[in-house]
Amino acid sequence: MSADAEVNGSPPPVPEGLVMGKDGMAVLVDVLIRRGFTVVGPTVRDGAIVLARLLSADELPYGWGVELEAGRYRLRERTDGAAFANAAGPQSWKSFLHPARVREWSADRVEGEVVFTAEPADPPRYAFLGVRPCDLRAIAVQDRVLTGGTYRDPGYEGRRFGTLLIVVECTEPGATCFCVSMGTGPAAGPGYDLVLTEVVDVHGHRFWVRSGSEEGAEILAELPARPADPDTRETARAGVTAAADRMGRTMPEADLRELMAGTLDAPRWDDVAGRCLTCGNCTMVCPTCFCTTTEDVTDLTGDHAERWRLWDSCFDLDFSHLHGGPVRASTRSRYRQWMTHKLGTWYDQFGSSGCVGCGRCIVWCPVGIDITEEAAALHDWTRSGAPAPETEGE
């Protein structure tokens, strides 16, 4: 589905959807592989639910849940056997659409001439199975950043436009989730090819499936599914509605963009700088952070050179290194840059929030810095008679 499907999304042909069991999930993965997709979905590895290439639905995390807190992630076995009753893991889909390392071109010196070779663009057709509503929004955010506007990333476009998105709505939010605050979940927004809601109750383990595109409808037609009964639909909807009431975190009731712009001199930035390790983990796990660095590599002879693009981070001192040194040398300025961009200036630049409320930055911060807690502290500061800022600080 193309990135602008959010605008042109065709209405699902079966509005009531279909219901299938675990056998249907197995067929779904087989159908996707037969159609030539590289299927990527959640699976258990290294004590976490990671995203990896799937060859069978058996690899899905059936019976695994997660226990999340700031700076803490633990797998927990579930008795209900659900595959998707778990919140965001350590990676996001950007690991595939906007990979950590990409070679952009290479060059060779042949008989005194330099010949440049563009990197062949031959991305696999991905089918992402198990995209959460917050992550669906994150993909839309990266679409705007990387394919909207003047500077488009053809590599991203190539990977993204062939990608099939199969969303799974959330029924089991984590203690660090706040998609409701960011308006991104737990129900799926537009932009998917298929959307599933998992139901496990006395009537069995099943998935309510609806399509959001022609290709999604075609795939749905190949699955061993029956028309959705009202009971399954109701149970599924109730599960998603209940999830909205069980968010582990909330953002303060404030215009976050104004809050960021109005608190640049808040003493709280020094407080968080005391805890921040500037390790860069929050930006690497963030599903919308897109910053990269460029590295030119030469071989020993100097006859072969390559240009690589790697994930970078505003927490890296070298990231803002201009003539004479880094622009954002202090931890305070680096953390503030990240958070005010994510929640504030992202609107100015890209017309939306850069945060989707997935909670990954909270979980995967080694010292448990919590963006919702920082926002709340800044909000409290504005309400407790903060002095009007005179300058922008550093």
């Binding site: 983990n281 690497m284 590599v297």
Partner: protein, 282 residues
Amino acid sequence: MVTELGPVIRTRPALAVWKFASCDGCQLTLLDCEDELLGLAECVRIDHFLEMTPSEGADAQRARPAGRGPYDLSLVEGSITTAEDAERIQHVRRISRYLVTIGACATAGGIQALRNFADVDEFVAAVYARPEYIATLETSTAISAHVPVDFELRGCPIDRRQLLEVITAHLAGRRPRIPSHSVCFECKRRGTPCVTVAHGTACLGPVTHAGCGAICPAYGRGCYGCFGPSSRPNLRSMVAQLRRDGMSERDIQRVFRTFNAASPEYAPVPDLAAEEQHGPPA
């Protein structure tokens, strides 16, 4: 696209490898560049490298501990622990155009810098049967404490790819591409779930200089800090986190007292660890 260039003028710069107080592991990394070794030998003239020089015969005559030089690129392994070596590094600097330290010993004093925190005479008396034969300095110090250093390559041992990058960059006349950010970047780029967050394993990755490719966390172990401190590490917060991960004051002191024990960045660790255990000093 084709760009016309003038004729390429190549010279073969002279390379020298020097050993001071060290285990030889870093200079052996050069020999470990198996696939690239022949290519390297075509690009540089290896003029002084005792480790790969026969101990007998004509070559042995040529190889003297203090080569004559001059050398375009000197790779220096090891720390300064004796009065003789303090003299010899001055000589090495004089005959080297570009001097690169390789490894934790040369860059931070190495594990032998543990003597800096103790009485070296006691160590000598405890270790050697005839202490009177031992003439050593009270401290083990980095090369940069004695002479100007053009580039410091981290690691215990150094990373083979990084060593090749430093040599390649020198040949091309560009800056080596050696980032000074944390090991966390490398874990995230290779997709390793954080061992601290997912398993509660204490890990020095957030304050450790990248370069190894995040090997230990990929095998489920915490980072040991072989590459020393990353740029401007927040040790106060790291020490507090190590406490939360279950380490005692003594454990925390010791985890920083390894290959890069004498790194100036680690100097506040004992006080910070004590403060975490007993509260701030009165």
